[in-house]
Symmetry: C2
Subunit: 414 residues, 2 copies
């Protein structure tokens, strides 16, 4: 459908075709792959996704070391030591982690050693301080030790050449510790996407303004920005635009970001410029989805760069719904994260029935009260406060007319 | 115990007293309250905690508005309209969201209206475009509407003067949308803590270095920094220090952060300066905890400012354990977040028994294989790779000697 035709006639209502939710998800999964790798210092990779297996370049520890404060000795020389028949050794030095004992421990000798200090040549075990007493340069040992006792062996934590962490892993805080300890830096991680949010509407004031007269405040871009950061986006740029096709077209051409969102003007009305512009500059693959309350959602790809463009409804609940189901999935795929929605799911009985329609999916906000899920607003795509009163949402599949009171449903928890 | 006495004698081993985990937690909960409020622009408050109730300064929508594209009419004039007996109205204008119709809709008249546009004076309902056809400046309506049909009433989303969001709420993406839409900015939120991490040890190289000889790389500060950011900390400063009491003392005096961590030197050995320094500069409330593998943990408060100082074991697994149970709790309390550990908990049967000791708590890393939890390393506080192989941990309470194979335990999932 051409942009001109749509503009010419307010009677051209509704979408000639609504794509099933499952087909939109399939398209996203087919067309959107993760971004290339980049190398990032180990101190900055928390939450990032490994692009390659990391092989340990060295062993940890890199040397045999004391695992206790005590005395480093030849284990076999301690055999027979007991509380009432201690054995005596000459103390010939001290070993600290950064100042190891440089000599060789001979028969009849011991050194004082601190936890973490390299084991000296000639010694093969540590007698812990509790089993020893020291005086006049000698130590009396009251406990026999076996070879290797209280010694951390070279490589016992990490062996050189082994795979330390596998590609695709989302890095946890302790993974940073492990990577730092082997000196694996910079770390190959999947690049995080950047997103431009083009917010269209003559009636919109930027977030941070006070509403005035018939002018309302853009609430979609602060919500989307927070969702994008949650989903690992590195950089978000927000631009407010009036309903002027030339300005929107120029932004679509000039924006350097990996993904573009157009919030508002995504339906089939006179002022809905976004669908026609995406068709003109690339390929509009989806326009209209069998999903309440986010039917005016679109997905296209700009020519050549094949950059995804999401048309998100201006109504804030619809916008949230379209992000949760589609745009967020694309963002998570680009960043190498699990594509599934990052909400915990809980099975819970309905306190009141949900009525839906066969042929479309319904995104129904629910509040949990007395361990029952109650729909807070079946309709009302503009009622954003319904999503703050809600504890989560239920997705009613398109082959269902709803869910009965008492039926157990999966609630996605906000 | 004075620092000098500890330094003088390597035989002074072990802690004279180990505080129960529950008592450390009680101390943290008694002494640590959330930080004061600050006012932050609405676009930057995702994940922040509200310091006060937010009352809506205005209604949303601020005016009655069209909820559909169509024709604004007097509802009672549509009564009787049907597909085969349409009723005709004169079109006297158009209403857009930012360009409302300024006149008064008289009897027999209608205006074209777009979703979101203010309802014109005189009209009280919208006939959707699908139920109308237009020609020669007239519109034929084929469906009767009741008053209020397809009209979003002033205040239907949010009423002025109502509590919009309650103090203590952690703000979700959609909450930012709601706050922006009423112009509630700046937003009163609890200030986020700042933390100084003092990493002590002559043998340590900064994270990002390669290990060399007996020098090892600091793995605690990258791990702790990631944990702190996860728990809402605004700013983390890392300083590496040699085992020199004067340098550590000066940092304790000079650091402006809300909380100080000292990583390493937290036990009772000759080079463990931190406990004595905290006693000297304030109050060392806990030193030694009945917790494996994090017994060398301490908690003190610096004089006057009453700033918490955590002594964290240098061994990385012990450090993680002490953070998870104690330091993280304090950080989350300061920032107004739920103090509980932010790990999902799953009940799962043990694939192998866990042996523990009555009188202390054990933090046991487990991997989940074939739906069974298997301990990956009972001991080995220095084996950080055990926490990357693990999927989570089990806390064995101090009144238990462990858990039998097949017993169901709570696994905290990393």
């Amino acid at each position: 459908m051409s942009s001109d035709r749509r503009k010419s006639d307010i009677r051209m209502r509704g979408f000639p075709h609504r794509t099933d939710v499952a087909d939109v998800i399939r398209l996203i999964d087919e067309r959107i792959r993760h971004l290339p790798a980049e190398r990032v210092p180990v101190t900055s990779v928390a939450g990032r996704v490994l692009a390659e297996d990391v092989i340990s370049p060295c062993a940890v520890p890199g040397f045999d070391r004391a695992a206790m404060d005590g005395y480093a000795v030849h284990a076999h020389e301690t055999f027979g030591a007991e509380a009432y028949s201690p054995l005596e050794f000459d103390i010939v030095g001290e070993g600290y982690p950064a100042r190891p004992f440089g000599g060789h421990v001979q028969s009849g000798q011991a050194i004082r050693i601190m936890t973490g200090a390299p084991m000296p040549a000639g010694a093969d075990a540590v007698v812990q301080a509790e089993a020893a007493s020291e005086s006049d340069g000698k130590v009396r040992i009251t406990e026999a030790v076996t070879p290797g006792r209280h010694v951390g062996r070279r490589g016992e934590d990490i062996e050189a050449g082994n795979v330390l962490l596998h590609a695709g892993r989302r890095l946890r805080p302790q993974d940073l510790g492990v990577l730092a300890s082997v000196g694996a830096t910079p770390v190959p991680v999947i690049r995080r996407p950047s997103v431009a949010i083009l917010v269209t509407g003559d009636e919109l004031l930027p977030a941070g303004s006070k509403p005035a007269g018939c002018m309302i405040v853009d609430s979609n871009s602060p919500m989307l920005t927070a969702l994008l950061h949650r989903d690992g986006v590195a950089h978000v740029r927000v631009t407010l635009l009036p309903d002027k096709p030339d300005l929107i077209r120029q932004q679509l051409i000039d924006s350097p970001e990996d993904v573009l969102f157009i919030s508002g003007g995504s339906s089939v009305g006179k002022e809905d410029h976004a669908p026609g512009l995406v068709s003109e500059l690339g390929e509009l693959k989806v326009h209209g989805v069998a999903l309440r309350p986010a039917s005016p959602t679109g997905l296209g790809f700009l020519h050549r760069q094949l950059r995804p463009v999401f048309l998100l409804p201006g109504n804030p609940v619809s916008c949230l719904c379209a992000y949760d189901l589609f745009a967020g999935r694309a963002i998570r795929r680009l960043g190498g994260l699990s594509p599934e929605m990052p909400y915990a799911v809980r099975s819970i009985a309905l306190g009141r029935k949900i009525v839906s329609m066969v042929g479309r999916m319904d995104y129904v906000r629910v509040a949990i009260r007395h361990d029952l899920a109650e729909p807070v607003a079946i309709s009302g795509a503009s009622i954003l406060s319904s999503t703050t009163r809600a504890d989560g949402f239920v997705l009613v599949p398109p082959d269902r007319e709803g869910h009965a009171e008492g039926e157990t449903v999966d609630v996605h928890l906000y």
